[in-house]
Amino acid sequence: ADTKTIGVSIPAADHGWTSGVVYHANRVAQLLMKEHPGLKVIVKTSPDPATQANALQDLETQGIDALVILPTDPDPLVNAIKEVKGKGKFVSIVDRAPSSNDNSVRDLYVAGNNPALGQVAGEYIKKNSPEAQVVVIRGLPIPIDQQRQDGFDKAIAGSKVKVLDRQFGNWNRDDAFKVMQDFLTKYPKIDVVWCQDDDMAVGVLQAIEQAKRTDIKYVIGGAGSKDMIKKVMDGDKMIPVDVLYPPSMVGTAMELTAAAIYDQIPVHGTYTLDATLVTKDNAKGYYFPDSPF
């Protein structure tokens, strides 16, 4: 068969969700290489945009035919991606889109839906506790975090849901624990915590438990880690739902890319994945006990 190389550039596993990305990228890489005997898939992780730009160059040095990239931070990487694209390679961007996301930058865009992740959470709160006082724990100050906030704000706009406070928890359990402790000190009554990420939810739950506060009705995380999905499945009162943001989307993109370079199927444009609301009823379908996330 034809020998081809696909380069996959993803963020280093620095928190739960990205570790899921790494897991799925490696899983699908094995699958694809089995499926297409001449295919080589190289998966590389990078902790920050500058390093990722370097990784792109290094992948090119190895002579790739296609690139699948999940950018750590899209805008700073546009030029580097264009550089690859400019050499005629097939480029798929996953999840995080640069502000100018058109054909000049990539061939394929597999989108996780960041605004929807916020929006679904917001709508759930609006529907189930319309007068809720909410505290928000954000991630890191980068654009995807901003998009999630915007989606959330859009969803609750005009309702009586009130955001008491927002602070950064850096997608880190320990920081989320601290921030939640202080929220609990600051506000005598909190109804709902939206922390947009299941890793941070771990810290939030511990802080609430420690304070023995009963006013908090529930916590909404996001992404769909196996621990949180399990809680939803078991009917935990504090975690009634989870908003899906599957790290497996990188695998989807890799499969589509392989299809594009092998089968010459015209794969172009944007594939948007849903931000599914995981409830007790559908949780079973999203539970992967073997994944690290």
Binding site: D14, S19, Y23, N172, R173, F177, T185, K186, G203
Partner: protein
């Protein structure tokens, strides 16, 4: 000559009193100032619960910083402590998950011993690379920082390592969330660790040697002190302190990940310096270090409790406050 001897002696005593004591008091003054500011910012601040929360959560950094006081006093630096926390905690949880010992109590005890041993070994490794390998501690521990962090990422496959047995979890939980005579366990641990550290640093031969080695390697060597041994032991003490911090950390969230302890090394060093220990070695101030750790934690707490600071600016204000705290400390020491 003998006539003015009385006068000379007193001036000298007065001078050294100024030098030593006020510098030691300054961090506590800064702490008091912060508490006042906090009380003005938000009435909830001064509540027992909040202050206990802050003190409790400062435990990790405080205990690690106590170890760092030894390393820094002896003229070295350890940048690897943050990733060492992640590494040691991961191994502890993996051991408890392995289920090699059936009885939960025994298992927990064994895990704790193991943790202490691993922590000390990590410290030993740092110490040997620095002293026997004769590499600048900054670089040596930057290297081991990468190694410990990398191994943790590999152990966790980039994800989290979570304590599985709920029985162990509930058995272990009080080690962080419990309290003795109304005093939260972590605060108790801070006090005990600091008291022991102060005793070692000020009241034992080893402590004296740490100061001497930090003040001048050559003088120490010429006084028959085994300089490399003293330095290595300081690193081991640091490792031990990290292990103790891990013993408190694991029961809190029952899990670790590759991001556990990121940047804790900078926080620990900052706590040590804010507490009045000079980075170039020499005199170590253990109680000051604890105070420094509280200050750092309080600054964050006050900022979160205040309603007028944009969440985007928190880092900037935190930086400014540290600088201002140091300036206040300087001017206090100079004037009085």
């Amino acid at each position: 000559m003998s006539i003015n001897s009385g006068g000379e002696a007193t001036t000298i005593r007065r001078r050294s009193w100024r030098d030593v004591d006020l510098r030691a008091v300054a961090p506590f003054a800064a702490l008091a100032l912060l508490i006042i500011i906090g009380a003005l910012v938000n009435p909830n601040f001064i509540s027992i619960t909040n202050l206990a929360n802050v003190a409790t959560r400062s435990a990790f950094i405080a205990i690690i910083a106590v170890g760092a006081t030894f390393v820094i006093s002896s003229g070295d630096l350890d940048l690897s402590v943050g990733s060492m926390v992640a590494f040691v905690a991961s191994l502890m949880i993996l051991f408890m998950n392995s289920g090699v010992i059936a009885d939960p109590g025994l298992m927990l005890a064994a895990a704790m011993v193991l943790t202490v041993v691993i922590g000390s070994l990590c410290g030993l490794a740092n110490g040997l690379i620095t002293t026997v390998g004769r590499i600048e501690p900054f670089i040596a521990t930057l290297g081991t920082m990468g190694i410990y962090r990398g191994l943790t990422t590999w152990l966790s496959q980039g994800g989290a390592i979570t304590l599985r047995s709920s029985e162990l979890q509930s058995l272990y939980r009080p080690a962080y969330f419990g309290s003795v005579l109304g005093l939260p366990v972590p605060i108790l641990v801070i006090l005990i660790v600091t008291a022991i550290a102060a005793f070692i640093l000020y009241r034992t031969r080893y402590g004296r040697h740490v100061t001497a080695v930090g003040s001048s390697r050559d003088v120490a060597r010429y006084s028959g002190i085994a300089v490399n041994r003293v330095r290595t032991i300081a690193f081991i003490i640091q490792g031990l302190c990290v292990a103790i911090a891990v013993l408190l950390y694991v029961p809190r969230l029952g899990s670790t990940s590759a991001t556990t302890g990121i940047l804790w090394e900078l926080q620990a060093i900052t706590a040590v310096v804010v507490g009045g220990t000079a980075l170039k070695g020499g005199a170590g101030r253990v109680w000051g270090t604890i105070c420094g750790a509280f200050i750092l934690e309080l600054v964050g707490n006050i900022m979160l409790l205040s309603n007028f600071i944009s969440e985007y600016l928190i880092g900037a204000i935190q930086g400014s406050i540290i600088i201002i705290a140091m300036l206040v400390q300087r001017s206090l020491t100079r004037k009085a």
